[in-house]
Amino acid sequence: MIELIIFYVFAAVLIFAATMVITARNPVHSALFLVLAFFNSGVLWLLAQAEFLGIAVVLVYVGAVMVLFLFVVMMLDINVAPLREGFARYLPVGVLVGAAMLLEMLLVLGSGELSAVGLAGGASEALGGVGTAQSNTALIGNVLYTIYVYPFEVAAVVLMLAIIAAIMLTLRRRSGTKHQDIAKQVHTRKAERLRVVRMNPEKRD
């Protein structure tokens, strides 16, 4: 009973937040509503006893990705009016894409193959009947590093590539910047920076 109430409250907030993401006038408000939406979906996952996923979405998306996203949105001075100009023109395309995605989700979720229980059951069967008493963090870990180890490693390499590419983009040389040589700063000695001067006392006049 109480779980049901919690579910409906958080689901309602989630839908409200998701609607506000695309309708809010201020981009910063949109981003903050997206944060709220992520947080609520995390709670819904917790309710479905997928505690690892639920907490991971808060940790990764809310705690790190959206912070950086907010950063960018806050620093850019986005003018909303020109963004809204083409709304009517792009509406049919948007509706089409939305309908296609909805259909895909219905097909996948409706087939019953992808229910949470089915997945956990399949994984534990694949591992030779692991008991359900195991926490689902351990369960995911066991599957991820045995059956799905190659896709996992490939995903890791792809992410690594993205990191290297992003860092390479920032490594352009600009002239005229006051760039500091950190190694030189760290290795500096007192003798290089400090000169002790011996002075005879002078009489003030």
């Binding site: 505690e51 705690g63 912070v67 950086l68």
Partner: protein
Amino acid sequence: MAEILELVWILAKIVVLLVPLLIAVAYMTYAERKVIGWIQLRRGPNRVGAYGLLQPFADALKLMLKEIVLPLNANRGLFVIAPMLSIMPALAAWAVLPVGQGLVIADVNAGLLYVLAMASLGVYGVIVAGWASNSKYALLGALRAGAQVVSYEIAMGFALVGVLMASGSLNISEIVEAQAGPIWNWFWLPLLPLFIVYWISGVAETNRLPFDVAEGESEIVAGFHVEYSGMAFAVFFLAEYANMILISGLAAIMFLGGWYSPFHGLPVLGPIFDLVPGMIWFCLKVAFFLFCYIWFRGTFPRYRYDQIMRLGWKVLIPVTVVWLVVESVFILTGFGPWF
């Protein structure tokens, strides 16, 4: 009916935990002023009550009676929500922290992840406050705080991955039980580099000196909370101290054996020291870390901003990654009494 009773029971547990916590927060501000006073050869607050012991209450009263000024052109809703956003995660994280054997509100399996998630939410209060104030100092402070917290979260997360590997569990009670034994059995010894990294990043996460560039009163006035006054400011203040206590509590649990006495399991000393309740040992360990916070504040000069970033990304994260590899070797070879 049974469900309602359970809800009431949970609420009662929350109250029993939060009231002492908030009193601890209030006295933390007093302790800070006293210790900083001693470090600087002053007396600190000594007028309100005996030894100034009622000073926190006088401060709270003063702040409550002050007007909350809403700056012109500030974003009203977000301006008001920001202090709440910063104190809620700091208090919510305590749900899974055991203060003694079995003394925990929710003994959940993914406790460590939950704490990390809550710790990472705290930065929103700062960012939202900085943006909603519509002031350049506040925005600069918020941006600095955001970048700093996101960077140090990685080092902190990696340090806690080490704890997770050593204990083989994400459940915080089980992590403490994995350290059962005298002081050299606790994780601070085999995970010493991770412990140091955790502690440095913990100080940075809470935006305390020497990493308090988010406030940086000599450069950007007071940073993200420059426009806040009265109780709204007090809530930020409370959140900062609640976060400090949280980080210290985590350090005590992850690396210093939580509720165990330093002589637990030794022949003669063990039983004698076990007479002291586990909660007292936990509080003593937390108090040690809190003292360190104040000690750092009284001792170190503020870091330059680019140096903070360099320390986080180029020193702390590589150290944790290397030590995780070393630790896996320890685990594979069953090194010492720990693995």
